[in-house]
């Protein structure tokens, strides 16, 4: 008898479960609210002078502004941000910015030139990971108070040499150059941290939104500011939910519980095709997939072998299948969207040509090469494809699979033979990639110049390329500078220890009623204030 009671209890439980149904029903998200789902566990800090991960920089792009901005509606074009005008001295070493008047921070404090100068100084003094974007102009914690000054509504920035003005301006659009409300930040200073701990949970900017709440690995909430200098945002509230699983994001999107899903897999994207309520927006990202060949292995330093490898990659085969929607074929070190980026893709899979080149190389075949790859499905898929096509030209790739940090240590220690890697630009200027792929002042082991990818793979670009990289970063004429980078990319593409293969593509899936969502492309970050529903 009691057994029946046991079952009865289960039935009651089932009824209880069913009883929750009415509460769970949820219609579309409110018209003035944008709900996004993304994997935001990459965030280390949301202090704009420390944040250097995609999700954190995306967040800060909406709560802070820079002196000069990239225009979301005209990608690649510089437009005034908090500075109404700017100029550079004849000697190319002094930059002057005139700060707009009438702009306020979320605290209500007015924006001043002192805030702008103080913010840029703070970057250098805090010296967190992205600080090098500014310190590369010769700024140090010791000299920054003299190098960055203010007077009235003008901020002056001095550099240690005459760089290309476009280089300086591009760097000032990066997230690290966001201007913070120095009075509020310094009022929250603890043990000389310049408000760093406080800014990890609060925002103090002039951006279109103010941070209402941030919970790491859970999400954040933004609220639009009334009377914003750019005009009021249509979307009043932004909710970002940390949803790491693509299939879960898809389900939420299909149900209308979220407006934008930013981390769906190609399978999920294919699954929503044909759903009239959902649209997919394609964009590019800044990451580049490339192979690095260690020049300490003699066979891999042979130019014929390098060229053969370039003809032995099934670029289109991969982007049409395993990398569909995630990566596009790209064969230069500058991602599309950067000044001077090459868009042509001269190499394709041509086994016969590659075989002929291997024969010309004089290398004994079959050639065995250890291939260091990170333990991740996409990378292993690429590695398998390469293993297959390289085998056809007499190169046997022996996979050496490990986690990301292990692979990176091998690469930084020059212990690889060939490795599959990605590289993302640090700031929206071509120098960011040129300085690492096309520059290596000292190729000796003792130099330990791990910041240069060319050094890591023991490739000496030679005096000509090193000099060309140095010249491009100081070229004042932007058109000439563009041509210089195009030339550099061609040389490195056709004759170096690198094989460039793909550029990141990005697919954001969203409800059909969402428009104006700007993901940021290869050079910028996401903007929520442009969205309407």
């Amino acid at each position: 008898m009691h057994l029946k009671h046991g079952l009865g209890r289960a039935a009651v439980l089932a009824a209880l479960l069913a009883g929750t149904a009415p509460m769970a029903l949820m219609a579309e998200t409110p018209a003035d609210t944008l709900v996004l789902a993304d994997a935001i566990d990459d965030i280390v800090s949301i202090d704009p002078h420390e944040a250097f991960e995609f999700s954190g920089v995306d967040l800060n792009n909406n709560t802070y502004d820079t002196l000069i901005e990239l225009d979301p509606t005209k990608p690649g074009e510089l437009v005034p941000g908090l500075a109404e005008s700017w100029s550079v001295s004849d000697d190319g070493m002094t930059y002057t910015f005139k700060i707009k008047s009438g702009i306020t921070f979320s605290s209500g404090n007015p924006l001043t030139a002192e805030d702008a100068a103080g913010s840029l100084r703070r970057v250098v003094k805090l010296n967190k990971t992205p600080a090098f974007i500014l310190t590369q102009f010769g700024l140090t914690p010791e000299n920054v108070d003299q190098m960055i000054t203010f007077e009235g509504d003008t901020v002056t920035l001095k550099t240690d040499k005459a760089y290309a003005p476009s280089f300086v301006y591009n760097c000032l659009t990066a997230g690290v150059a966001n201007i913070v409300d120095m009075k509020t930040v310094m009022a929250n200073e603890v043990e000389g941290d310049m408000g760093n701990a406080w800014l990890k949970a609060n925002s103090a900017g002039t951006g279109a939104y103010v941070l209402k709440s941030f919970k790491p690995n859970e999400g954040y909430v933004l609220e639009a500011r009334a009377g914003h200098w750019r005009g009021d945002a249509k979307i009043k509230n932004v909710f970002m939910q940390h949803v790491p699983e693509g299939a879960t994001q898809r389900l939420l999107l299909e149900k209308g519980d979220i407006d934008v899903a930013r981390e769906m897999t190609p399978t999920d994207i294919a699954g929503v095709e044909g759903n009239a309520d959902i649209k997919v927006q394609n964009d590019v990202g800044g990451q580049i997939y490339y192979l690095a060949l260690n020049q300490k292995k003699a066979e891999l330093a042979n130019p014929k072998v390098q060229e053969a490898m370039r003809w032995a990659v099934d670029y289109v085969g991969m982007t049409d299948s395993i990398l569909k929607g995630q990566w596009v074929v790209h064969q230069a070190f500058l991602p599309q969207g950067f000044l001077g980026a090459l868009t042509e893709t001269p190499y394709s899979l041509d086994v016969e040509k590659a075989k002929a080149l291997m024969a010309e190389s004089g290398v004994t075949l079959p050639l065995e090469v250890k291939f260091t790859v990170r333990n991740n499905q996409e990378r292993l898929d690429i590695a398998t494809s390469l293993q297959n096509t390289f085998a056809q030209i007499g190169i046997n790739l022996v996979l050496d699979v490990g986690d990301g940090a292990q692979g990176l240590e091998v690469y930084r220690g020059r212990l690889h033979e060939m490795t599959l890697q990605t590289w993302g630009p640090d700031y929206p200027d071509p120098h960011t990639n040129a300085s690492t792929f096309a520059s290596n002042p000292d190729n000796s082991d003792e130099a330990k110049a791990t910041g240069y990818l060319a050094w890591r793979t023991a490739w000496d670009p030679g005096a000509e390329i090193n000099a060309a990289t140095d010249a491009a970063v100081v070229e004042k004429d932007t058109a000439k500078r563009e041509a210089m980078y195009q030339d550099l990319q061609t040389k490195v593409r056709d004759n170096s220890a690198f094989v460039f293969m793909f550029q990141q593509a990005r697919q954001d899936a969203m409800r059909a009623n969402v428009s104006g969502f700007y993901a940021g492309g290869a050079t910028d970050s996401a903007s929520y204030w442009t969205v309407t529903k």
């Binding site: 008898m1 009691h2 057994l3 009671h5 046991g6 079952l7 209890r9 289960a10 439980l13 479960l17 069913a18 929750t20 149904a21 509460m23 769970a24 029903l25 949820m26 409110p30 609210t33 709900v35 789902a37 566990d41 280390v44 800090s45 250097f52 990971t129 090098f132 990890k200 209402k212 709440s213 919970k215 790491p216 690995n217 859970e218 999400g219 909430v221 909710f239 939910q241 940390h242 949803v243 790491p244 699983e245 299939a247 879960t248 389900l251 939420l252 149900k255 519980d257 986690d403 940090a405 292990q406 990176l408 240590e409 930084r412 590289w423 640090d426 330990k448 110049a449 791990t450 910041g451």
Partner: protein, 354 residues
Amino acid sequence: MTSIPAPPSRSRLLPLVKQILLGLGTLAITLLGLLLITFIIARVVPTDPVLSIVGERATEAQIAAIREKLGLDLPMWQQFAIYVWDAMRGDLGNSIKTGAPVASEIARYFPATLELATLGTIFGTLVGVPAGVLAATRPGSISDQIVRVVGLMGYSMPVFWLGLIGLLVFYGQLDWVAGPGRLDPTYDMMMEFTLTSYTGMILIDSALNGAWDVFGNAVSHIILPAGLLGYVSMAYISRMTRSFMMNELGQEYITTARVKGMPEWRVIWVHAMKNVLVPLITVIALSYAYLLEGSVLTETIFAWPGLGSYITDALFSADMPAVLGGTVVVGVAFVTLNMASDILYRLVDPRART
């Protein structure tokens, strides 16, 4: 004549005190052992925690400076001694990745796991025990077969698959429950800005605040992941209950009770159950402790910010203070539950009191 009240018996109190002291001793040794093993494994793995925080651009000098700042340049035994000394004073160190105190990070993640695991265990026990008893009293019957098959499914089906199917059916198709996450965004805002947080467990906090709409939303969010975890633990609990109960039902005292004409429900639920409870408590406690570690896959699919995903994230970024902090919490949970089940034994089984 007035009777003089007897003083509390020292002989009854002593074993309890002894047991608690023994428990605390076990806790200390277990934790030390756990920390030592985790520490050694962390150092043996060829992953450099510094690389994951400084980024690709860092120079060797910057890496060395950070290594020195974090104390990673010290000999291993010294690092371990410093860690244990700090941990004893309640300082679990700062996360390498975020720089925030590990203790405060865990304080944020653990309540989410605690809430989920507790509800899962309650589900698992409420369904698993009667199901096990049902199966044991009718071995070989259809109901036994059903319990066995349902249990086997709980054992063998990957939890992420069950989770996704559960979401697809109950959230996607039937609309019975809310989707992933702990609350809908609007309720989440309400919880954060208008209500007082006492425990970090939303069900309890919203009830204490009398915010029944938030409570209802939290229930509709937690019911599916908790039901899923409950199902997995139910599979284990029902199998163990079945086996314990069958063993008891074969005992002579049960035959005697039946011969004396005692109703069957009394034989099973009073006499046999009393003895089944002793090992069953351990089974339930172990299953609870297992859920308290945080079920990483369930947490990932349901976007549940719990301890499992915290420790996994920390492992991936080689954030050792966070991993060790998480290990301490899991260790404490295990030992505490073990102690609690020992004390429960003593209440249930008079023989254990001596």
